[in-house]
Symmetry: C3
């Protein structure tokens, strides 16, 4: 594709000379003929040394002889361009399931790879793809245009809306962790009879666990994006457009509003409420309900307070020495003033 | 089912009028005709607003016109009732395995879904269920009344007793992480030739990893319950009735007594001993052996000390300011007293 | 095998009397007739009470009547011996795949268990083993002598060199977590069109997630060993002989040098550089680039400083009391000196 055609497709301004573009790559790894992008100022230093033939950028650096595509939102432009250039070519399998149960309604346009298992009373909408090793248990409903990657397990009755992507090894609808203690000190299982409901435009990473509700439903709201190895316990309700980064764990019955961001390895206690627009720093531990704002730490505090605390913590060993000195001096003064 | 019949089944007192009960649900999500429950005082506020027709509870609030089922242990009553009302209906598959090796002993009552793989010299007891995609490697022994959910892998020679539940995507008996360093700085693999032994009444969540012993066995004691995404390294010995919450990691050769509780995202160092009845707060890091008691923090300390430390930590930035002031004042005083 | 033959095989000195050796086991679990080993001084106390018939060790304790095999590097000797004694006997399956696509090149010596799925344009080298439930997507290349355990998913175009071991449930090449925000506040997926490249002699634990690059490749360097439940995000570049312990998470585009050690549950922020020979303590959070050295804490600091800080932290509650006392005394003195 010509660079000028790309500029036209993205409604970007081309600054420099036209050329053929063979692919997209990072500033450091791009070869001649490839288009690259600057979406993180950290990589500014590679602009002059990149071998790429053109750079998608939002502001052209002074005194550069490079060729640029100028865009208000280079990252969004990149998403558009990559989606246009790289279509994954998949074979068309139709229903090659190893087993399909009774009373299923599966659209003709669904692709079902070999070694897939489909139980009874399953509904699957148009253009959905089930990769090999996927297990769809009885009574599951999946909407249109979903992609379910290899070895995903979706347990009985769970409901998945449209354009949902679930990556390999993820489990939807395993039993929640609920036990009642009897007098003998044994843990008696609470049957987990609810479901998981996943709304449209959700993407879920690989090896994620989302437990079914004890009663009612565990809910993942529209447009929320969940990274790999995340734990979502029973009866969690998550709002729309949340970003849940890798290895986060959310305990039972907690509620998240919309646009909540939990950075990597955050832990959320059970039965708490996190309001819309809360943002939590990596590795934080949330033990109580939070209003909109930024928080960090274990337990979480206001993010600015946490930054101050980090600075103060470093001074703690020297503080101890200063304290000792002060106490000695005071003792000396008290000797003099008595 | 009539509410009065439920009361009789649970040996509970019915306070209010009889009605038909169509299901069980949470206080917030219950509809008319459903039974709900109060097992966490946090939800007391929903008692008057719930749409449920009756509430399972241990103490009837004053001045309420609601209908109640009164129980000493509502959570245990709930477990009993749910187990009675909701039997999962599964098709009966008998042995539909994609492959079964030689010299296996599999009870007639075992349900084996399609796409299951069973190796050679495998023994499986009565009424056990293997869901689709389960892989049972050579020489594995599984007892009676177990449920092995989809895409679980149980590696060679591992032994599983009776009434064990293993949720989807979990791996039992992957190799432990053991390497010897040679003179050239290469890590030479220690063959992991032990097994995993799982005793009766254990439940294991989804996407859990339990490594086989280097030599001897990794042991999960009777009645222990393990949540999702937990890591249990080689040669760990875990006692009875432990509760291991999601995303906990236990390093190699560490030993847990009975009734140990590890809250979410706790990490346990290798080669240490955690005595019976130890309870650890979420996100803690245990780096040395612990006697019975409650602990928190990284590294763990007595839980009460940790609470004090959290309170003190918040005062650290102001402490620094107070210190500076004190030093200035002292300097001033020293000037005067000299 | 005779103990004297083992001594000869390992070039070790036998101190004590010869006997028949039936197996290898730990000091605590070994039975008569078994060989045991001391590779961690913590277990020294079990030397006199072990039932093992001989002990592999690097220094013979004074006044012991036990039988020893003396070795400079007992752990390495153990690796050698175990590898000689315990060959896992597997059936030979040749290509029993449930499905194999077009234009594949698969060596005759490859073992492919039943229920494996292999896409199109896949290359697999000599002696590689694919366990049941493995999914190999289109265009994947796997070298010689690899072992891919059950229910592993390797997504399109990923490349795996020789002697790579991947344990059950692991996912190679799931999509990286990348979204551009549009004006309406929706997260638009950046198509992840790069690959994962895994060099020779890498071992990867169970239930690990390694994301494909957005563009270019995610790279795991030669001889690196990755434990269970680890998250490796898109475009991470990892050097040679790194040790990545369980439940570590490494964010996008970060780079590790050679011989980096990340202990359990460490988190690494995105877009940073960790130099060769960096060692990080368990549960640490790395938020900026690091030079060779040892670090701990959230955020990480020099490990020695972190140890000092831990000691100081414990004194913080008493420090507050001392501060209060000091302020009162100073107030009293000021009263006197005025």
């Amino acid at each position: 594709m010509k660079l000028s055609e790309i500029a036209q497709f993205l409604s970007c301004r081309l600054v420099g000379s036209d050329c053929d573009i063979s692919g997209i790559n990072t500033l450091e790894e791009a070869k001649e003929g490839e288009l690259t992008f600057l979406t993180n100022p950290r990589y500014q230093k590679f602009i002059e040394t990149t071998k790429a033939s053109a750079i998608l950028i939002d502001k052209i650096p002074e005194r550069s002889n490079k060729t640029f595509l100028l865009s208000d939102n280079p990252y969004l432009a990149l998403a558009k361009l990559a989606a246009k250039l790289f279509k994954i070519e998949r074979p068309s399998f139709k229903n090659h399931a190893a087993y399909t149960g009774e009373d299923c309604t599966i659209a003709d346009s669904v692709d079902i790879y070999p070694t897939v298992y489909i139980g009874s009373r399953v509904n699957i909408g148009s253009n959905t793809v089930l990769y090999p090793g996927v297990v769809i248990d009885d009574g599951v409903e999946i909407g249109d245009d979903c992609v379910i990657y290899p070895n995903v397990s979706i347990m009985r009755q769970c409901r998945i809306d449209n354009r949902v992507i679930i990556h390999a090894g993820t489990v939807i609808g395993s039993d929640g962790y609920g036990y009642a203690l009897d007098k003998a000190g044994n843990h008696i299982k609470i049957p987990q009879i609810g479901i998981v409901k996943i709304e449209s435009d959700v993407e879920i990473g690989s090896n994620v666990s989302i437990d079914r509700a004890a009663f009612g439903q565990t809910l993942i709201g529209r447009g929320t994006k969940i990274d790999n190895l995340v734990q979502i316990a029973h009866n969690v309700k998550m709002g729309e457009k949340c970003l849940i980064i890798s290895q986060v764990g959310i305990s039972g019955s907690s509620t998240l509003g919309n646009n909540v961001i939990l950075a990597g390895q955050v832990g959320v206690a059970g039965h708490i409420r996190i309001d819309s627009n809360v943002q939590i720093g990596a590795k934080s531990g949330i033990h109580k309900s939070l209003k909109a704002g930024q928080y960090s730490g274990v337990p979480t505090m206001n993010h600015k307070d946490w930054l101050k605390l980090q600075a103060a913590k470093k001074k703690l060993p020297s503080l101890l020495e200063r304290m000792k000195l002060l106490e000695e001096e005071l003792l000396e003064i008290k000797g003099k003033t008595v």
